[in-house]
Assembly symmetry: C2
Homo-oligomer: 506 residues x 2
Amino acid sequence: MGEHRLNLSTLVFSVAVIIVVSHSAGSLALKHSPRFLRKSAATGTDFAPPQFHYETRYFQQRLDHFSFSDLPTFPQRYLISTEHWVGPQRLGPIFLYCGNEGDIEWFAQNTGFVWEIAPRFGAMVVFPEHRYYGESTPFGSAKEAYKDATTLSYLTAEQALADFSVLITDLKQNFSANDCPVVLFGGSYGGMLAAWMRLKYPHIAVGALASSAPILQFEDIVPPETFYNIVSNSFKRESFTCFNYIKQSWNEITSTGQTYNGLERLTKTFNLCQKLKSTGDLYDWLDSAYSYLAMVNYPYPSDFLMTLPGHPIREVCKRIDGAPAGTNILERIYEGVNVYYNYTGKEKCFELDDDPHGMSGWDWQACTEMVMPMSSNQDSSMFPPYEYNYTSVKEECWNDFGVKPRPKWITTEFGGHDIHTTLKKFGSNIIFSNGLLDPWSGGSVLQNISESVVSLVTEEGAHHIDLRPSTQNDPRWLVEQRETEIKLIEGWISDYHQKNKAGFDM
Amino acid sequence: MGEHRLNLSTLVFSVAVIIVVSHSAGSLALKHSPRFLRKSAATGTDFAPPQFHYETRYFQQRLDHFSFSDLPTFPQRYLISTEHWVGPQRLGPIFLYCGNEGDIEWFAQNTGFVWEIAPRFGAMVVFPEHRYYGESTPFGSAKEAYKDATTLSYLTAEQALADFSVLITDLKQNFSANDCPVVLFGGSYGGMLAAWMRLKYPHIAVGALASSAPILQFEDIVPPETFYNIVSNSFKRESFTCFNYIKQSWNEITSTGQTYNGLERLTKTFNLCQKLKSTGDLYDWLDSAYSYLAMVNYPYPSDFLMTLPGHPIREVCKRIDGAPAGTNILERIYEGVNVYYNYTGKEKCFELDDDPHGMSGWDWQACTEMVMPMSSNQDSSMFPPYEYNYTSVKEECWNDFGVKPRPKWITTEFGGHDIHTTLKKFGSNIIFSNGLLDPWSGGSVLQNISESVVSLVTEEGAHHIDLRPSTQNDPRWLVEQRETEIKLIEGWISDYHQKNKAGFDM
């Protein structure tokens, strides 16, 4: 179960950037690393995942596709279902989900959209796991794979894309399905992979649905404040007083922490299982809650990360605002984050992550390629103000992993600075879908680029909500968004069939 | 000088495939590896290369761009000239030649086209060297770099493309030239790199002139007989009797070799410095001469590989056909290949390569990624018939380098099976230029794909003749071909400027 939780902790993006908090109170700058879903945060045990049927298989992959080093191969797990596939004669499509930073079974369970539309398309469904996650660990075990920078060094997006390409090429051959069109799906980092794969391996697939894919969250392409501004706005739109309570709470925490017995008082107020070591740890814990609440701010109850009510931020603010008169700020905050960390009411106390710089896959990726600058703006953000500082990132990464980040590599390899031109000239058949409530939407593509590279933006959507299993509570706009996506995908496949029928003149 | 020769020996493609010769006489199948330009073949000492002016600089490159292994960097040499560059304010273009398998200075000297048109475009010129060639060797020296499969393992096309992309990104930044359009050039393998770079790094450059780039010479995309059929046709079109003499000569060599003192007689007939060890070595030597004659079958005297007359195959056949009546076949052949190996008449005797399986960069590439199937057809080829046999290739590569080829990797990584669709949907601004005399033209793109992905085919052109320095003897069609190329490149740049002026709507 501990293992299971660890996997869950990487499901949606970790905000694994090391940021320097300049406390407005002028106290010591704290380094902390807000990350996703602490160990303390149990997932809802009531969660009954949808039952999708698949086989689990393994494919031996090269550790380094781009060199001929004599390295051990590793088994890449993939889930596959041919239940609804109409087969190679009828050019049945292949739906390939680009596995992201976590256990692939979890992604499969939470990507109901792909399973639900497969019968309609007569499609094969394949969910390959991302290397170094879940069971797809090189060197025989996660422990060995995560041992040090040397063993981790092949955990990169380019290697993952090559894994997908090699796997699908092999599968097509084994199924005599060389002419069957492949459609890519991906959410969050997986959505980035799907979009990039469309640019880097255009011969492999006919199109990609890249949901909540912040491919522009690099260097100075979007302002570094974007992410936390969106989180903050999600609270502000529910309640300005709620936004303000949260904004004020950081100073309150800092000043309380500085008093005699202050950390003990904070420990008690926030019902922590262990005595708080520093206010920074509490900052992290709260930061995580707010950030992930913004991501999973779905309009219906969900169990994606935690068991949550519909419109969870509304619920958080209701509790913060609605506490009896005289309740102090920190008690209000505690009431609020309870919605996130303990909606089921089953937690007796909360464990903060006691190893904030411990090794995890996404932390490694954030310290190597996925260098995403994040700041918090004094005026527009409810978080403590801080300015992104690459030097600190570099130092932290060196301390944590003994690795030097390459902050410009992603844009060199995949582009980004002039993504509109690149996508217009070279991209085709990509859907960038985003919900504006999602803090990652700010780093994604939010405008139509061309006839076939389109952006689907929903005002009320959160993190890749379109990929989730449909529910009876789906609002109209979500049903319509999915219908649009289905039509676009149908268009890609029908274009492909027409071209295929016409033959090639070569 | 020996060093110099070694570099020359990789200038144009080596046909570094290991093929099994099934002698029609039914004798033992011989393995040989026809390669380019033997050590015995001195280059013309009269050669006075054009004097292009450039600075030589070095850029520290990562050995593996796609992992974070802690490997030593290496200095990539590049030649650079800003003499005619109009600078960043005027968005002066950057001409980037994709260095291929050899010393970059040699390519710079033999790619006069780029230097000659740079002033007209106000362009900066950059010639980066391909890793593991010339001076751009990892691990401190060529000896160390070529030591074994481990040190060689980073010699791949993908790493070379990443080198170019990282270098140009850095240069642009240093010259404040982020908005300056980059145009790619490349011939032969360098042309493949230019075309692939256009597909893989569309955000880096605005277009590519890929001259004689056989990107389709993989797997079963083109028939494996293509290459040797074109070589054979180049002889047949000059003289059918010449073609037939050559076709008959192989049996003659084999049967002579099998007689008492036969190898000594062959040694004498072909004026070899050392006694012939096997007829296979002689096969290789002749195969090389014919293949490279077809590549450099230029209409004017040249010194590209060897000092040669214009229309060298015509000259070879003149000597083969024109020998006095009673001259036997092998003596005729000897007269013919003298045109190739000793046109200056300075060679006293010929050294066959005594290390046919020695390590060289292209041999490694042919044993890893660049697996190009080559056969010789009984009817249409003047070479001994043989069928491509991947199993032998695999064995040879294992014996020579301790490496397993990945014959399907190039098409997985770069596509190829349905290149028209890929190029049509994803490519833009690529010129595939080919001369039909060039045996590599058969594996290249010979049809227009779209408005901006065009094929320029010349009936009388040989291996990337368009990239060579202009001469007073250039035929009309060549002058016109280059003018077309210039106009197309002007179009790319002017499109870019228009788009740049219009700004982006993001």
